[in-house]
Structures are given as C-alpha cells and as structure tokens.
C-alpha cells in the first residue's frame, strides 16, 4: 500500500465516522420531533382548516366597527390614545425603574461573583448561584407571586423585572469583569488601596462602557417584558391589551399592538445608537 492510498483510507474512515455521528444525531432529533409532535398535540389539519381565521383575525383587527379600514379614520382607531399613552408611559417607566434597580444590584453583585476580584470561593459560588436563580425563574413567575404579596399594580411588575434583570446582568457583568486587564488592579493593591478603591479605580474604568451597553440592551428587553406583565395584573399596558383581546374589541387590538411595536422599535433604534457610541468610544481609547 502506497502512502497515498494509506491517506485515502484514513480520510475515508474519518469521514465515515463523522457522517455516522451526524446521521445518528439527525435520527435522535427526528425521534424527539415525533414525540414532541404527539405531546404538543400538533395537528396540521386543524391548522389548515382554521388558517382562514388567523388571516381573518388580522383583517378584522384592521377594520373599524363601521366596516371601514382603520387607516381611514385615525381619530376613531386611536380613540383612547390619551389613556393608552399614559399606560405606555407607565410601561416604559416600569421597564426603566426595573432595569435601573436590577443593574445596580448586578453592579454590586458582579464583583463578588468574579474570581479575579473576590478571592473567597464561598462568596463567589454563593453569589453565582443567587444570580443563576434570579435569572432562571422567568419574570412572569416572579410577577405572579409578587402580585399576591404586594397586591395588584406596577410595584410587583417593577420588582419582578428588577430581580430578573439583576440575575441576567449580573452574569454578563461578571463575565466582563473576569476578562479585564489585572495590571491596574495590581497597581492599586500594591500601593495599599482598599477593596473599594481597587474596584473603583482598577476595575470600573475598564468595564463601565460595557456595563452601560449591556444595561441598555436589557432595557430594550424589559420594555417588551413590561408590556405583557399586565397579563397577570402587574401594571402597564398589558392588562388593557388582554382585556381588548378577550373581549374582541378588534380595532383596539390593532391600535394597541401598533403602539407597542412602534414604541419598541423606537427604543431599539435609540439604544442601538447610544450603545454604538459607547462601544465606539471604548474602541478609540
């Protein structure tokens, strides 16, 4: 056997084992899909039979009660714009306050969850587990529980957002902190700086713009989240939305959806610009 043939055989073997693994993976995936289809009661016949009511739903929500398209009479379409704007404002405020509270909590906790700043491994593990718990439980579940404890209104929503945000941002912040350059930190420790001075002058200048960027991204996510927290009675525009959907006030549904989507898009555009500037500034340094 020449060495060329030898290589060809080795190549063929390598490829077959790789292919076999891919086929096995695909087979496992197919089995999972079939089982899931059973469990999730997938029924394409139901879907195709009723797909007309899906498209019909969108046709209906874009028609006013008098049968005209909604665009013909904006005054009638957005008849409740004053109270809806107030609700939308409340939603944004909830997202803002929740994000800020969560970001502050994450800012404090992330230093305890970073191995390179905190030497005590018990503290590191404990704060990591705490952050993990806060972000794994969906904010809706927190909201459900808080609505019972704090009674209906925006307060439980804000707290639910804050806890979930704290967990999610805390993890991201800790990852940023673990990737910093340790030389400035060593310098401060060497010149006799305290733990607080180490964090303030050694770590914070390196991570501030990244932190702000992550917090803005989270604000975007929280605006979407806050818009539906009202489904469980935790304030914001969600409660009204749920009401109009359940009561089939079709044109109101589209008005509220348009309002939410436009707000979310605006927030996205603004924060994207700010984040771009924040990270651009860092790149220049």
């Amino acid at each position: 056997m020449t060495s060329l043939e030898h290589h060809q055989v080795a190549y063929a073997q390598a490829v077959t084992s790789k292919r076999r693994r891919a086929w096995l993976g695909l087979l496992a995936l197919t089995v999972c899909i079939l089982i899931s289809g059973q469990v999730a009661e997938i029924s394409f016949s139901k879907l195709f039979q009723n797909i007309g009511s899906f498209t019909g739903y969108f046709v209906r929500i874009f028609h006013l009660e008098n049968g005209q398209l909604v665009f013909t009479d904006f005054g009638e379409w957005f008849w409740g714009w004053k109270k809806w704007l107030v609700l939308m404002g409340e939603t944004l405020l909830m997202a803002y306050v929740g994000t800020l509270l969560g970001a502050v909590a994450a800012l404090v906790l992330c230093f305890f969850a970073s191995k390179n700043i905190t030497n005590n491994s018990v503290v590191v593990v404990a704060s990591r587990r705490f952050l993990e718990f806060s972000r794994t439980v969906p904010e809706m579940v927190f909201a459900l529980i808080f609505v019972v404890a704090f009674s209906l209104g925006p307060l439980p929503g804000v707290l639910a957002l804050a806890i979930h945000t704290g967990g999610a941002l805390g993890k991201l912040f800790a990852e940023v902190v673990e990737n910093i350059d340790l030389k400035p930190v060593d310098g401060i420790v060497a010149s006799g700086g305290t733990w607080l001075q180490k964090v303030r002058f050694g770590v914070l200048p390196q991570v501030a713009s990244n932190f702000a960027s992550y917090a803005l991204l989270r604000f975007e996510i929280n605006v979407r989240g806050a818009a539906v927290l009202g489904f469980v009675g935790a304030g914001g525009i969600g409660q009204t939305l749920l009401e109009v959907i359940r009561k089939f006030y079709y044109s109101d549904i589209s008005a509220l959806l348009v309002m939410i989507v436009v707000t979310v898009m605006l927030i996205d555009a603004i924060t994207e610009r700010v984040r771009y500037r924040l990270l651009g500034k860092e790149a220049k340094q």
Binding site: C32, E41, F54, V97, V141, A149, L241, M265
Partner: protein
C-alpha cells in the same frame, strides 16, 4: 478658562504656571466643567428614576408590608409537595415539546429568509428592507400576545404555544441569521465568483460553511431561552407547565408550587447543560 486650583499655585509659580496652562489647558479644567454632559445626564436619569418611583407607587411602607407577605409565602412553600409528580412531569414534557418544535420550525423557515434579509446575499434592496421590517414587527409582539392570537385559531392547548413561539422566534432568528451572514468574510465569495460561480454557488460554498456553526449555536441558545418562555405561556392557556403555575398561585397551593418551580429550575439547568455539550461538539474548541 478657569483659575488654577490653590495646590498648583503653591507648587508651580509665575512663568512656569502660565507656560503649563498654555500647553495643557485641558488638564486644569475642573471636574464638573469637563464632565458636565455626563453629570447632567446622570442627574436626569436620577430624576426620572425618582419620578418613576413616585408615580409607580413604590413606597417603603408598601415594600415592607409586601416583603412580610412574601416571607410568609416563602415559608409556607416548604417542604415542596410532590404528590402529583406525574402530572407535573407531563406538563414539563409538554413545555419541552413546545420549545423544541417552536424553535426548530422557526429556524427552518428563518434560514432562507435570513439570506433575503442580509445585505450581501439579498436579491434587491426592497426585499431586504421589507424582510427586515417584518422581522422587527414579529419580534415587537411578545410571545404571550402571539399565543392569545393563535388560541383564537387552533384553540387552547400546546399547539397554540408552538405557533406562538414560532412567530416570535422567526423574528429573532431572521435578525440574528441575517446579521451573522452580513458579518461573514467576503473573500471566499469572491473566490467562488472569480472561478465562474453563480450567485447561488457563491452563497452555498462561500458563505454557508462560515455561518452554519454560528447559526446552529444561536438555535441552541434560543432553545434554552425558549424552555423558559414555554414554561410561562400556559398562563394564557397555550399549554405547558404555566397553567399549573398560575392555577397553584391562584389557589395558594404554595407547597405544590415550589415543587413545580424546582422542577422547572432542574429542567432548565439540564437543558443548558446538554445544549452547551452539543454546542461544544458542533463548534469544537473555539467555543463562542
């Protein structure tokens, strides 16, 4: 230009001081003058926060009272009650099924659409624009809202949940996929084109091999986060463990509630673990 701080008056005198000032004018500007933009921004943010706290009814008394209630609730959650373990397990399986099917179907549909929405592979600018805006709209509407809409079409149950996840994931994948495609290196594409390849072959052999691992890992990430989403869409009746959660909170069966929450946490942790294994197997050592 401001006057020098007194410390500098003592250490550097006369001509030297004037010289220093003229050479490094920016170094001697007081802190508040140099950072007035950032400071006023911070002040505005703090004011807005205060306004929010006041209008949203976040008062200390309310928080203290609520925290007391919460502590009572948490105490009554223990020990977790697993009497109906089998029912919970089936609900969790349903949740996972919803997450899997929603994620996969969205990924399959978003895959071709992602190429249409990427600047370097799209057919023309109009298609690019509309694909982008449609994804934005799909993403702008929350899963719970999609679930409510689909319940009108296919009735209560997990199928509505699958379709709801499909809609919002389509928006997310469309955006992520098109961004990954736009970030791909153009050199392989030029190589294929220079040897006489068509637009289609340049995408197939120039871009696809680069983006495939990224797309797969994004799908895995989405599956992880969808397990969480799928566990709450039951609140509006779209299947999964959410229905049990909201029922138990409504009827204050807190010991059973804690059992379900624990089961969700374990499931999510397991899914995260397996997904990271698969991701590692796909992307290899250069994990994203």
């Amino acid at each position: 230009m401001s006057v020098l701080p007194s410390a500098h008056d003592r250490s550097v005198g006369g001509e030297r001081q004037v010289l220093l000032l003229s050479r490094y004018p920016t170094l001697f500007v007081p802190f508040y003058e140099k950072h007035w933009k950032a400071l006023s921004g911070l002040a505005l943010a703090a004011l807005l926060f205060l306004y929010g706290v006041l209008t949203l009814g976040v008062s200390p008394s309310k928080i203290f009272f609520g925290l007391g209630e919460l502590a009572l609730m948490v105490m009554r959650m223990f020990p977790p009650d697993a009497k109906q373990f089998n029912i919970y397990l089936y609900a969790i399986a349903e949740t996972l099924a919803i997450a899997l099917l929603g994620t996969l179907s969205a990924a399959v549909v978003a895959f071709p659409l992602g190429f249409l929405a990427a600047r370097n592979t799209t057919i023309n600018r109009v298609v690019h624009f509309f694909a982008r805006r449609s994804f934005d709209t799909l993403r702008g509407i929350d899963i719970l809202i999609w679930a409510l809409i689909w319940i009108n079409v296919v009735g209560l149950g997990p199928f509505a949940g699958v379709l709801a996840l499909f809609m919002s994931d389509l928006g997310i994948f469309g955006k992520l996929f098109s961004e990954a495609i736009e970030a791909a290196d153009q050199k392989p594409v030029e190589g294929v084109l220079s040897t006489g390849g068509t637009h289609a072959t340049s995408v197939r052999f120039g871009i696809l091999p680069q983006v495939m691992p990224i797309l797969l890992s994004q799908v895995l990430y989405a599956f992880e986060s969808n397990t969480r989403s799928a566990s709450i869409i039951g609140i509006v009746g779209a299947g999964g463990v959410g229905l049990i959660l909201s029922e138990q909170i409504r009827t204050m069966e807190l010991q059973q509630l804690s059992c379900v929450i624990l089961m969700i946490l374990v499931t999510v942790a397991l899914i995260d673990f397996f997904c990271s294994k698969i991701r590692f197997a796909i992307i290899g050592k250069q994990a994203l």
